[in-house]
């Protein structure tokens, strides 16, 4: 897709953000998302989880089939476009499960409003973050940093992950656990990308 900025013809009427600026916004967003997921996970662990189940992940996360670099060096060695694609896959994979999680939490009156609001916010943030990363990808493609082959729904893995129902049978606690982990991945990957491509403004 040919993403042309809408206001190239305007003079001074359109504020075009730089890539570093876009990256900063996205990274802030992902950090907040990870923070919310961490809060929800801790609350769940404290209030609703029997002690015997702490730390025991009974099932794999539904995103386990997405290949993600598991270390710093692996992430740094990975190509930018591949890393970007991983990010997008992860974000796509979590949109539906989080929405349903919020729905289930809202229906359970045991959860206080604070947690319910957080789950809603978390669900929205995934959606917003995905769109933000999409903008970053377009900017990078316009600048020629990455190839044009990156798309959010292109790979079969992404489609599989998003359409899988594996998440439906996951328990709430496992869901939260998995999302907390994946949001941390997204945050780290985005930071590595930024410090590799546009290292200014603090890295």
């Amino acid at each position: 897709m040919d993403a042309v900025p809408l206001c190239t013809n305007f003079q001074g009427g359109c504020h075009v953000l730089s890539l570093a600026n876009l990256f900063d916004r996205v990274i802030q967003h992902s950090a907040r998302m990870h923070g919310i997921s961490n809060d929800l996970h801790s609350e769940f662990e404290l209030y609703f989880l029997p002690k015997s189940q702490i730390g025991r992940v009974t099932r794999n996360c539904h995103t386990s089939n997405i290949l993600t670099p598991n270390g710093k060096e692996n992430a740094q060695r990975m190509a930018r476009s591949d890393l970007t694609e991983v990010i997008l896959k992860l974000l796509v994979a979590w949109r539906d499960p989080l929405w349903h999680f919020h729905q289930s939490m809202a229906h359970h009156h045991d959860f206080n409003n604070f947690s319910t609001n957080k789950s809603l916010e978390m669900s929205d943030m995934v959606h917003e973050l995905r769109k933000g990363v999409q903008k970053v990808v377009e900017k990078m493609q316009m600048l020629g940093i990455i190839s044009d082959s990156v798309s959010n729904m292109a790979s079969p893995e992404a489609r599989l992950a998003s359409h899988s129902n594996g998440w439906r049978i996951m328990k709430d606690y496992d869901l939260l656990y998995c999302f907390r982990r994946d949001s941390n991945k997204v945050q780290n990957y985005l930071k590595i990308l930024k410090c590799r491509i546009v290292p200014e403004n603090g890295c």
């Binding site: 950090a31 270390g71 930071k191």
Partner: protein, 622 residues
């Protein structure tokens, strides 16, 4: 997932972290305040990652001392990675620490690790974790502080502490993000003050006290994670009393406020005492004031109105209830001549004349002198130029002396009441002789120049008035010296001096008191008892009308009209009288030789009251 009822109760209770941990929970929960007793069996004490790239695990044999030897206990791990399976042994042992070290190649993030502590036969401990959850970053390095400011009260100050992130954390690559918690306490205190966690490598501490020493340390944490790293080494902050150089600021403030206060006080004083200050700084300058007459009339060009008023204006002179024009000048003094005495005077009798009164000569002064003041306030000011408000019964000697010398006296009729002995104790006989200008006999009078030029001052105090009268004065002076030797004894002298009388400007409110002879043109004296008039002498030719009113001349004709002396004209010449042709007579001609140019009144010689302006001098002929 079923929410048990016990979980509902937990919702209402703020949870504490002090619950019994499971054996492998050492990896999972951050237990800074762990109070649980260590298990007696061999167990993992802790697994920690410092940089999110490697991690270590430590174990303890517990009380099983036989297992404390190296190799007795072994660590096995398993990654829940789909690609790998099976237990592996610790890749690197550090037996001195009872530590198992996993290097970069064996560390995977976001993948659960399960650890097991095994001896030969049994598994004593196991637990699972993910590496990002066991990260405890290293403490920051290079701590230092700078003083920001000190409070004005010199009691507290603010400090900026800054540091650098731990070198082990790869922040440059963006792999780790770190946030800091700074804690400080007083040197002797046990409780630490913790400030909020924030990701910037500097922090301001507010409100530290002067003189106390503070200890500061910092620890690190990954954002949105629980576990903190170790505290850094402490730094010590202390600010002692600063030297007094700054204390000049409050001193200058005090000085400024003091000066401002004093200025305000002075202003208030000046405002409240405004009138008095004005009186002291700018004393009022005397100007001719005639009671009952507006000072506007005394100016040039208004002689008509003035004469009208003075002559009564159809109402018989100035009303006694003359309007007070000088109400706002309390220091104004008017010289008044008693009008009653003037009425009682005989023709030609200059008893109680103004000259007498002014000079303090005999009882005329004591009786008739009527120095009035416009109000009760009297300012004994020598510079005022006014006659003083003093007790007429006791005239002052020096004043009298001066006046006596200044005014060449005019002898009077013998009939003139000249009771020397009465009521004039201070008068010297010599004074009389000074003014004695005439041998006794028929009443003669000389030109008494009302204004005379003082040409010389005698060492004895006498004043030489003008060249023409010098002789007279000298005579008087010698006589004075003789007389003074016989001061206060001779009635003979007094008798002689009885004859002397001074005549001054006649002041007659009616204008007709003194001189019943209507043939004598008189100067109308309008004031009820006032002595001086400053009548601006008008050119005779131009203002005949003023003069002919009431058939009176603007000059005062003394009561004793004879003049035997004719003095040459002094520099200041007094217009004596006006003749029928309205020409001005400067000196009344002596009886013996009346100058034909000066038709004089046979019996009268007018004493002028006014003064001559320079532009009018030409009109007068000597």
């Amino acid at each position: 997932m079923a929410i048990s009822s016990s979980s509902l109760l937990l919702l209402l209770i703020i949870p504490s972290l002090d619950w019994l941990p499971s054996p492998a929970s050492a990896f999972l929960i951050d237990r800074d305040h762990m109070a649980s007793p260590a298990p007696s069996e061999p167990h993992f004490t802790e697994c920690i990652s410092r940089d999110l790239e490697t991690f270590r695990c430590w174990w303890s044999p517990g009380i099983y001392h036989n297992l404390s030897s190296p190799g007795a206990l072994r660590v096995f791990y398993r990654k829940k990675d789909p690609a790998t399976s099976g237990w592996k042994e610790c890749p690197e042992y550090v037996h001195s620490n009872r530590e198992c070290f996993f290097d970069v190649n064996h560390t995977s993030i976001w993948i659960p690790y399960c650890m097991q502590l095994r001896s030969e036969n049994t598994t004593y401990d196991d637990g699972c974790f993910t590496v990002e959850n066991i990260v405890r970053p290293d403490p920051p390095v290079s701590l230092n502080w700078t003083l920001l400011n000190i409070s004005p009260s010199w009691l507290s100050y603010d400090v900026m502490v800054n540091w650098e992130p731990p070198p082990s954390a790869d922040i440059g690559a963006g792999w780790m993000r770190i946030e800091y918690e700074i804690q400080y306490r007083e040197r002797n205190s046990t409780k630490w003050e913790a400030l909020d966690v924030q990701p910037h490598p500097q922090r301001t501490i507010f409100g530290l006290h002067i003189g106390k020493e503070y200890e500061v340390h910092i620890r690190c944490r990954m954002p949105a994670f629980i576990k903190f790293g170790e505290f850094s080494d402490s730094i010590f902050i202390q600010v002692t009393d600063v030297p007094v150089q700054e204390s000049t600021v409050p001193f200058t403030l005090v000085l400024v406020f003091g000066i401002v206060g004093v200025l305000i006080l002075l202003m208030l004083i000046a405002l409240s005492q405004q009138h008095r200050l004005m009186m002291v700084l700018l004393p009022p300058v005397p100007a001719p004031k005639i009671k009952g007459i507006d000072s506007e009339l005394l100016k040039k060009g208004k002689l008509d109105e003035l004469n009208f008023i003075l002559t009564g204006g159809g109402m018989g002179g100035l009303p006694t209830y003359a309007p007070d024009f000088y109400q706002d000048e309390p220091w104004v003094e008017f010289i008044e001549v008693d009008a009653e005495n003037a009425d009682g005077e005989e023709k030609g009798d200059s008893r109680g004349s103004d000259t007498q009164k002014l000079l303090g000569v005999p009882q005329s002064i004591s009786h008739h002198m009527n120095v009035g003041c416009s109000n009760n306030v009297s300012f004994p000011d020598d510079d005022s130029g006014q006659a003083r408000c003093y007790n007429p019964d006791v005239p002052e000697r020096d004043t009298l002396m001066l006046m006596a010398t200044l005014l060449p006296g005019q002898p009077e009729d013998e009939e003139a009441s000249f009771d020397v002995t009465e009521g004039a104790p201070a008068l010297d006989g010599g004074e009389r002789s000074l003014v004695q200008t005439q041998t006794p006999g028929p009443q003669t009078w000389v030109n008494t120049d009302f204004y005379a030029q003082v040409s010389n001052v005698m060492p004895s105090g006498g004043v030489v008035l003008s060249p023409g009268q010098q002789l007279r004065i000298q005579e008087g002076t010698s006589a004075t010296e003789e007389e003074r030797q016989r001061k206060g004894k001779d009635s003979e002298d007094q008798e002689k001096q009885k004859e002397l009388q001074f005549q001054l400007v006649v002041v007659d409110p009616e204008g007709n008191g003194y001189n019943p002879e209507s043939s004598v043109r008189q100067i109308s004296t309008p004031l009820p008892g006032d002595g001086y008039q400053a009548i601006h002498p008008q050119p005779v030719e131009t203002k005949p009308a003023a003069l002919t009113e009431d058939n009176q001349s603007p000059y005062i004709i003394p009561d004793s009209p004879q003049s035997t002396f004719f003095a040459p004209v002094a520099d200041y010449t007094v217009v004596q009288e006006l003749d029928s042709h309205h020409s001005v007579l400067l000196n009344p001609p002596p009886r013996q030789s009346p100058p034909p140019s000066l038709p004089q009144h046979p019996s009268k010689a007018a004493l002028p009251v006014g003064y001559i302006t320079p532009d009018l001098l030409g009109n007068f002929s000597p």
